[in-house]
Symmetry: C2
Subunit: 325 residues, 2 copies
């Protein structure tokens, strides 16, 4: 690949996670769907927080987690996302920059507070996410520095950004800039409910603009409205250039034209909290890809990163991923 | 004991901890003394935070941790402490109230931000604390609700409060109110550097007003300016009514007049982070004491709580302490 200042530029919703342990009864009592991400407004965020147990705050955001993973592998990264100039915004900025990722997007100086995601972790390690987007809705095309886009081998974005209309425009601007600079673009489907909300736009992008697609089994089935993973694989093969599809304990499948690579999941002693599994898989895959590794090796690196992240609470690596390879 | 709405009222510095892993080289490079608590101003807080790795935010404050422990044992508690009406202040208030502790002190609506403690955890599990007191300096006598003091069997305060002159006045007001209501007062020495700063005031209080004293080996030796723990014990016996002295892996010693109770430490598989060990010891002891347990049993409960807290990152219990007894 041609030289680049950054392996990956990530664009995402800049969110601080509030992690709290709960049980299944709490989820059903409050109408929450286990394993999914629901968008909530400020009032609902406050109501739900008030009835939630003590928490731990840690920087998150799907793409932020991926970028922290890239840095943890020893890769170079930049991030574009919007926080407010408040305490949680400072925490988010500090934590991402402390991993070594470049993060120069200006903070909002007015408007809603930095985004928070109330993540309820059940005893089975599943996480149920309730996101107040707050300042993320202020991300727009003006925040896209096309020089940074052109300096990154891959521009990677989250499907979640479609929930903020101006952020979607920012993504499309970045995709154009990346391709004009001869770079690649990549997207994760983020969440099956997110796929339901934006199915046609995502399919159009995958057919026409996306170079590397990430999704899990539920998301890819939702995208193509099929019942089985096998059907989803065949639909993906027809529409996506390269797709990396994760299947939890069944590992992952990489599809590129007629090629298919199945890679087993890395072993995990105990699943503590699945938050960030997909985000970290993407970090390993993209680190490998931007370092010229074959697709099966990219998938293996993704699996190693995912295994690390589900072994503890929180969605940012606790161990240097470069040490686990 | 006469009936009371609360087992314990705690008065303390209301602080959100920022926990980050580091190594010994970082500590010496930045002039930090391992295991101690240093007060820092806002500028130093920002400078130090900027060079620190990614962190996790969790409600802390020595006395706040103790009160969370009381609640975790199934006890009733109230807390008095000062946060600002900012995001970290909301986090602190939420987390303490979510444990079941009553916390009605008004937030500051102007002035410095909610206090933060940058806690650097080294691979040996030791913690080095850097506290920006912020809004805590706004705690004063007006915040002491004497009805709440009178409704608590024990009013427990941290020596750290002496670092905020108005907070010290608040404590003395609370001590008067407690004794007028026929209740007990208790203090922890907090930190050996804190003892050096306020030795004479602490000794005067212990001789004349304190019913239950908490301290660790370094603190009690600093208080009486002696070389050995045995000398410190004898000095304590002469001056304190009841003293519970902790000695890390050597367990704890309770002294009451001519009586001495030595209780072994509870077993710990692996010491991960010693933050909060003394705070949680106090919670177990005071829970036992306010439930009429003999002193040795109070010390045993303290040891169980301390063992739980040093087994994981953070200074608030992850397991319900009532389940460990």
């Amino acid at each position: 690949m041609t030289s680049a200042a950054f392996d990956v530029l990530g664009i995402g919703n800049a969110i601080v996670d509030i992690l709290s342990h709960t049980d299944d009864a709490f989820l059903s009592q409050h109408g929450l769907i286990k394993g999914s991400m629901m968008l909530i407004d400020e009032e609902r965020a406050e109501t739900l927080y008030a009835v939630t147990g003590p928490g731990v705050e840690v920087s998150g955001g799907s793409c932020g987690n991926t970028m922290a993973g890239i840095a943890s592998f020893g890769g170079t990264g930049a991030y574009i996302g919007k926080v407010r100039n408040d305490q949680l915004g400072e925490v988010f900025r500090h934590d991402l920059k402390a991993t070594g990722v470049s993060f120069e997007t200006a903070s909002a100086t007015s408007g809603p507070a930095t985004a928070r995601c109330l993540i309820l972790v059940t005893p089975d390690g599943q996480r149920t996410m309730n996101t107040y987007l707050g300042a993320c809705t202020g991300l727009g095309p003006v925040d896209i520095d096309t020089k940074v886009v052109g300096a990154a081998r891959v521009t990677y974005v989250e499907g979640y950004l479609w929930d903020a209309p101006e952020a979607k425009k920012a993504v499309l601007k970045a995709f154009d800039a990346a391709h004009q600079a001869g770079r690649l673009v990549s997207i994760t489907l983020s969440d099956s409910f997110c796929v339901h909300r934006y199915r046609e736009e995502f399919r159009d992008l995958i057919r026409n603009r996306v170079d590397i697609l990430f999704g899990n089994e539920a998301e890819i089935k939702a995208l193509y409205e099929v019942e089985t993973f096998e059907e989803a694989m065949e639909a993906t093969r027809k529409e996506a250039k390269i797709a990396a599809l994760t299947r939890s304990e069944k590992g992952s499948i990489v599809i590129k034209g007629s090629e298919t690579y199945a890679v087993a999941a890395a072993p995990v002693a105990k699943v503590v909290d699945t938050t960030g599994a997909g985000d970290l898989y993407a970090s390993g895959f993209l680190f490998g890809y931007t370092h010229g590794k074959p697709l099966a090796e990219c998938a293996r690196l993704g699996g190693i990163a995912a295994a690390e992240i589900i072994s503890h609470i929180g969605a940012r690596p606790e161990q240097a991923l470069r040490g686990l390879v």
